[in-house]
Structures are given as structure tokens and as C-alpha cells.
Symmetry: C2
Subunit: 454 residues, 2 copies
Amino acid sequence: MSETVKYFLDESKIPKQWYNLVADLPAPPSAVLHPGTHAPVTPGDLEPLFPMSLIQQEVTREREVEIPEPVREIYRQWRPSPLFRARRLEKALDTPARIYYKYEGVSPAGSHKPNTAVPQAFYNKEAGIKKIATETGAGQWGSSLAFAGALFGIDVQVFMVRVSYDQKPYRRALMETYGARCVASPSNETQSGRDILAKNPQHPGSLGIAISEAVEVAAQRDDTNYALGSVLNHVLLHQTVVGLEAMEQMAMADDYPDILVACTGGGSNFGGLVFPFLGAQLRGGKKVRVVAVEPAACPSLTRGKFAYDFGDTAHLTPLTKMHTLGSTFTPPGFHSGGLRYHGMAPLVSHVKDLGLIEAVAYHQTGCFSAGVQFARAEGILPAPEANHAIRGAIDEALKCKAEGVSRSILFNLCGHGHFDMQAYMDYNAGKLVDQKLDEGELAMALAGLPSVRG
Amino acid sequence: MSETVKYFLDESKIPKQWYNLVADLPAPPSAVLHPGTHAPVTPGDLEPLFPMSLIQQEVTREREVEIPEPVREIYRQWRPSPLFRARRLEKALDTPARIYYKYEGVSPAGSHKPNTAVPQAFYNKEAGIKKIATETGAGQWGSSLAFAGALFGIDVQVFMVRVSYDQKPYRRALMETYGARCVASPSNETQSGRDILAKNPQHPGSLGIAISEAVEVAAQRDDTNYALGSVLNHVLLHQTVVGLEAMEQMAMADDYPDILVACTGGGSNFGGLVFPFLGAQLRGGKKVRVVAVEPAACPSLTRGKFAYDFGDTAHLTPLTKMHTLGSTFTPPGFHSGGLRYHGMAPLVSHVKDLGLIEAVAYHQTGCFSAGVQFARAEGILPAPEANHAIRGAIDEALKCKAEGVSRSILFNLCGHGHFDMQAYMDYNAGKLVDQKLDEGELAMALAGLPSVRG
């Protein structure tokens, strides 16, 4: 047996500030545009949806943003999260690579999402908001916001993509147990939903549609706001607690990553791990290779266009410049619901455009095979999303073996897979298949991108 | 918001010895008897099933048993587990009580069971064993042994009570992902199973039957052993890491429990938390009130007889003196599968008989109501078994409120409920009912106890 190596930070080491990568970039990301006028949005434009404190975080260029003490106090329930050296996996792979992983599945909701759900609920509570509307795909974000809402006494309404609502009743039960109200999207509760149901009463839904519904609900009432679990700058900002802690923990290990790996859906667990390291590099520190791993069936970074696009289907959101497959694109129904979004966080898209990161796309069966190998070696059963990061990390470790070099690889294990057992059942039974994206639909979705000059 | 208070021990504080309560008891527990001869069993009688190191732990009267370093190294993955002050729950209850909970859901399998699965796998590996057969009800034990087997390269075969096998495919998928083979019990793979299926091909199974099958498989081959997840002395011994850590953590909190609460099925999470505190009391330390909470539908401590009985249905196991409902008793199908056993650990039964602990029985809807209140306040969704402990702790806290006194209450939150969402769905939908036990069947099972003089 190889030994377990856990780097555990004292809770006094929970970061006091979030880190804002924008302060260290050679050029800021492109402006966010108003969906109607195509003029840069003003804070006032966003006020019907978000509290002013979050709008300020969305646009700030300050390097550090203070974490409010009540948020740090809740973080203390599960933070600092552990960072492990994957000695047992290294042995199974017979690799000279040094593999580390940061484990975010220790949060009450089982993923990294509470890192931003808690501050978002806090700032909304501070602003006197009574209710937050949001969307969820696989349910990790919805259950995290439901958890945060319960702590702060805020009502949470979750528009859950209908296909997930039907197929993942247990995620829904978790949200409802926390006290949230969960609605299958498209629903009859919004105009966006009714419009879609009028054309197709059996519509399976999509994240883009669910976002439209939640935004519509939030825009209608002064005491109701909207919250997003990824993509936006302030969400990625909150997630930097992951990378900031990891930097301290790698120092404890007397090591520094040569390669960082994280999966990308909207980009928040990726940005959370990677941005503090990229910032250190930009300020003259050690260069690190960064690999974003995305699903081959929803490949915004590797197949998408870097262009202005809407965040939702009904085009209620502002336009942001991002790697996108087009807001009308519907990915096939593979098992990593958290990675099924047509766009990529503008900030992640921007650092990709600047050449600071790489991206690769993997099919799901190879990712599950990596996840099962990881579970048997390390004991933790990963979320399907996290399996993409594991596949990427294992492939880098196998390259080290082939080349006979020892590199340090750090990846983000963003959540456990205890709510995703149907996917593992299908994989174990040999029923999981690699779904191809519809090339015709992709071409059409890309052709339909709004014509906006960036 | 009240603050989160987490008492986190450095990993250097993982206990180096397990604690053996027998050393401090005024009288040892009654002898274990051979099922055929009714003479006290010898170590040799147990050798077909267990490695000699575990047999020695089963009978030792030494106060401390060294934890092997390879076991401590694996413990380090999740131990020391956190101990929390439940400030948010206290506020929700408006109680002057100080409520603490030790949280064992942080293990890879999500419960306290790996605390004993890992050393059991270790000692079997050391003894050259290639395969372990075991039983599981709800699946917490089976998945924990599957996890431990994967780490040590030991094949694991799990006889899973058929009703659970059919109703809990996700627990099964977890075991299979770890590489274990899971069989619905009663099965055609053993004589015990075939005998039962011959009478009733649709038999729903029971823990007692599944134990018979696993014991039968283990007894047949030299390279195959048996493992039990609760009840036996060595299992409770391994679980004392929970209480030993909790004592250190209560000292960090500058407090000491007036009341200890834990749920009881076979008795291992209860003994794990409680025994180190009871031992301190027996050695002249502070007296602590101890409350065992059991399901009203399977009430071995409150309704059972303290008598010699078999641990299994086919009467292949030795006879132990314990609180029992009779080995033929089948409890109704309530949702805490981990608490559906006809007997109670002999050591827990003995301390109950000595007057060192109390026991109460609760119906499941009241326990789920407590669990949901806990989830909304503390963010952690508990296993149905753990909801019994929460119900007990909340009731003690409400007594404090009624009496206007502040007592310190520590309970064991032995696992998370992420694999038990069907139960929460039923509860949320108002479909959960309190199942009564069959009084006629209980009377018959008690009347059928073997006549052995204790």
C-alpha cells in the first residue's frame, strides 16, 4: 500500500479575499452588450436581476475582493477543502508523474457550487431580496443554491431542464428537502416557457431555455433576483477560493504544478482552480500548462466560435463575447449535465484567445473508464463532469510514463457522483455510448450567431 | 446568521490505539457459545471465518489495541472527521442546549462503516485471504467493504437483501463500481439460500438470511473469509476512533457532553461514539447520560429479550447473549435499512443490562421530520438511520428549552443520505408512514429463542 497524502490547511487559511484575474491580464475582456441596443451594459441595466454588490464584482478590475466574514464562516463548514496526492492512482498507472487533486465534493451539496451559492445568497439577503430564481441542468447548482437559500431564509425557485427533472428525481428531492421549489422547464409559469410549449408540448428543455425562464421571473418583481451558477465573472471570482487554497497546499507539498487540468462546462470550477495560478504566472511566476477538458458532444472551446452571443434561448440576457456553439444549439443527452451549455465563460474564453490555456475534448465512455479506475484506486466516486478532468490528468500521467519524465499534475475533482449512479449503472452494464453532436445543427447554430462587432 | 463552529483535529491526532471497553467494565460480557455444542467457542472455531488477528481482538481484555500504521494511513484520507457545534440548529430550535455532532459522512463511502472495513480488509490481506464474503441491508456496509477491498486487492462478494437489491440499484452500482460482486439474497449460490427459495421463490430476504449465505460461502474455502459490519466486539472496537476523536474535540470546545445520543441497528456507530466516554466514566471520570435511539419497528433494546440467540436465520453463527427480537423476526420494510436487524451487539446489550445506557424507540416519520429540519439548518442531508439520532438529540434540546437549562448534547451523524433520496421523496410527498411491527410475529419469534443458559 502506498500512503495517503492529504494536505490539510487550517481553517485560518481560508482565503480572506477572492482573486480577480482581470487585474493581471494584458488586456481586459470585451465589453458586455445590451441585448436590445448592443451598447455596453450599465450597472443599472443589470439591477433588476442582481444586487449591486455582485454587479460591482462583475465589472471590478481590483485584484482582490474581500470575502465577507459571514460567508467565510459558512465556508468553514467544509473549507479549506483537502488536496490529495493520488499515490494509489500513480501506482495503478505505474507513472513517474506526481498527481494531485483538490477535492470539492466535501461540501454539503457535494460539489464546488456552494462556493458561489453562499456569497450570492448572502449579497441578495443583504439587499433585502426575498426570492431567487435560477436554472439547473444536472442539479448540482440548483441544490447548492437551495442549500444557501435555506441558510439565509431566501425562497429559491429552480427551473430544472425537463429531461433532468424527469430523469433525476433524487436531485430534485434534495432541492425540495432544502425547501426550494423545483419546476420542470419549459414551464407554464413564464412567457418564454409557454411560447416553447405552444410549439412543442413535449420539449425536453435546455439550460438556455431554463435561464430565460428564471431571468423572466426575476425581472418581474423587485423582491426577486436571478442567480447563475457559472459563466459570469463574479461566479468565477467566488470559485477562486479553490485555486488560492490549492496554491498554499502545493507549497505544503513542496511542489508546484507543471500542468493544471479541470473540466469545463460554463467554466467556473476551471476558472476557480486555474486563475490564481495563471495570475501568479502573469505577475512573473512560474509558467504552468493549463488544460481545459470538455465533452466532445458539447465542445464550445474546441469547436465553438469566439463571438458575441446570448446566454439564453429567448435572448433575454446581455450579449457576451465567448466561445459558443450558438444559443440555439442543443447538445445530445450525455451524462455530464453540468457540461451541457452552449457557451463558455467570457473570462475563460478570453484567456483561451490570449493563448494562456489549451483545450481538449473527450467522449464520455473514456471519461467513465477513467472515473472507475480513479474510484478503485482513490476510493472517491467522481461526478461524471469530474471524470473529464480525471481522463485529462491520467492521459498526461501516461505521457509522463511514455516519456520517462516526472511532471506535477494538479486537477480539480469538482464533485462526487453519488447522485449520478444511473450513469455508472449504464457504464458498468456496457450500455453507455459516445454520442455524436449533430454537425448540421451545429453549423446552423453557428451561422445564426447575432452579428455584433466585438 | 450564527457562526459555523467546526472542531478540526490535526491528522497527527488520529488515534494510535482503538479503545476496548471490556477492560473497564465491572463484569465481562457473557461467553459466546458454539451453535452445535453450546460450549464456549474457541479461537479455532472461528478460524474458518476470520483471520486470527481479528479473533484475538474479539476476545481481548486489553484496554488499548494498536491501530496498524497502514490502516491509519488510509484513515487519513477522511479522518479525523469533523465535530460541529450545531449553532444554526440551536437557533432554529431556540434552545439553550449546546448541540454538537460528529460527522462520519465525510468518508468515501459516506458513513462510519469504512472505519472497520479498512482494518478488516487489512488483517485479511495480511493473512493471505483472497476473497471476503459479506451481507448488506441498505448497502452502507457492502459499499464500505467494496471500497476497502478495492484498496487492498481483495475480491468482495456481497449478499444484498433482495428487497434492497431491487429497490436500491444505486447502492449496488456503487459496490460494482468499486469492483465488488453483488448478489440478491436469498440466492441460488448457497444451500441456505436454495432452501429458502425452495419454500418461497419470491422471498424478500433479510439480514439474517444474507449473513447465513455469506458465512456459508466463507466457511467452504480456505482463501475466503467472512466479514460483518456491526454487532461483533472487534467491529465496535474499530469504531471507537469516532469517540476517541470526539473526546479530543470536545476538549477543544472546552465542553463535555452531558448527554450522548446515537442510533442503534447492530450497535457499531453507537458503540464507536459512546464507549470511550463510558470508559472514562467507569475510570472515575464525569458521568454522561447515554441515549440509544432505535426504530420503533425493530426495537431490540426496548422490546427485545436479553438472551442467547443466533446472529443469522440458518443458525450457522455462534450464539451470543444479546437484546434480540428472535432470529426469525422480520421487521417491516421501513427506510432505515441499517437498523433492520433482529439483535443488538452483545457489548451494547451488556452495558444496557448493566444500567449504563438508556434506550428509546421512535417511528420513522418523526425521524424524517427531524432530519429535514437538520438539513435546512446545518446543510447536511442525513441518512435515515442518522435521523433517529437527530430526533433524539432534538428532543433532548427541546427538554432543555422547556426546563430552561443548558445541557451539552453530542450525537453521532453517522452518514449522509445521498443514496436514500427515495425515502426523502416519499417523506416530502407525505407518503411515508409509520409501520407497526407484527406483535404476533414478535411474540412467536421471542418464544422460539433457543433455550440456552447464559
